[in-house]
């Protein structure tokens, strides 16, 4: 994979939107990612699981996208739960203090359960 790109898979479970970015969340991909995620929230609702399993690494540009996404969801009385952080992503979250900012679950299923159980 030459891989400066990022793909976003999306699906719905009830009124919860699941998005799964795959690739790198960095300065190269962040503008496009932010545009697409905010458009999804506007069109399909603000209760989201972001499944991070496919994210190879994340830099501050990617962290900023997640921050803006969470703020946007909150404005629309929604909520974002992250799931399945790989070791690289988890370590950057720890160093940046982001584990305290986000709801994080070990798996997509647990994240979904957290959103559906209230």
């Amino acid at each position: 994979m030459t891989g400066s790109g990022l793909e976003i898979h999306e699906e719905s479970k009830g009124d919860v939107l699941i998005v799964a970015p795959s690739g790198r969340m960095d300065a190269v991909t962040s503008d496009d990612l932010e545009r697409r995620l905010l458009a999804l929230v506007a069109a399909r609702g603000a209760r989201l699981v972001v499944d991070m399993r496919g994210v190879e690494y994340i830099s501050s540009a990617g962290l900023r996208v997640l921050l803006r996404l969470a703020k946007k969801a909150k404005e629309q009385s929604g909520r974002v739960v992250l799931s399945s952080l790989g070791p690289a992503v988890r370590q950057v979250f720890e160093l940046a203090g982001f584990l305290a900012l986000f709801e994080v679950e070990a798996s997509r299923e647990l994240a979904l359960a957290r959103l559906t159980d209230g």
């Binding site: 030459t2 891989g3 400066s4 790198r24 960095d26 300065a27 190269v28 190879e56 690494y57 994340i58 830099s59 501050s60 540009a61 962290l63 900023r64 921050l67 969470a70 703020k71 070791p87 690289a88 950057v92 160093l95 940046a96 203090g97 305290a100 900012l101």
Partner: protein, 142 residues
């Protein structure tokens, strides 16, 4: 394990993309896995974004950034050189990573990450160029 490579990329968003791709090629050529090298990708992304977003902003197109990669034993050093105005990231203010979401400033986080991820971060201004040296051991894969 010993190798080095010198890259020249444009001082633009495109340059960040090229640097990431060429770092991929460098690590693949020496059998390094993504799990071992991701901190260098993050550091490269942060450093180049800073140089391009701040240092080189408003400059005529054609500015270039020079990157020297050196692999020695189980360690990689990256020397990143640009001719933007002097900027020492070691003197940049650290963001408060304890604040709640609403109060969080998004700037400064990139440099803080570089400092936390790398074992060595050295800055010098030599002539009219900024030279940032970043080094650490390869990441242990879990």
């Amino acid at each position: 394990m010993e190798a080095s490579q010198r890259l020249l990329v444009p001082g633009s968003q495109e340059g960040i993309r090229q640097a990431a791709e060429r770092f991929d090629a460098f690590s693949a050529a020496h059998g390094l896995s993504k799990g071992e090298v991701w901190p260098f990708h993050v550091a490269l992304d942060e450093t180049l974004s800073n140089i391009i977003g701040h240092g080189l902003q408003g400059r005529a197109p054609g500015a270039q950034i020079e990157i020297e990669l050196r692999l020695h034993d189980r360690e990689i050093e990256m020397l990143i050189v640009d001719d933007a105005p002097p900027f020492n990231p070691l003197e940049a203010q650290q963001p408060d990573t304890e604040l709640p979401l609403e109060d969080r400033q998004v700037g400064g986080l990139g440099i803080a990450l570089v400092r936390k991820l790398m074992e060595v971060v050295e800055y010098e201004r030599l002539g009219d160029r900024n030279r940032l040296r970043l080094r650490r051991k390869l990441m242990e894969e879990l």
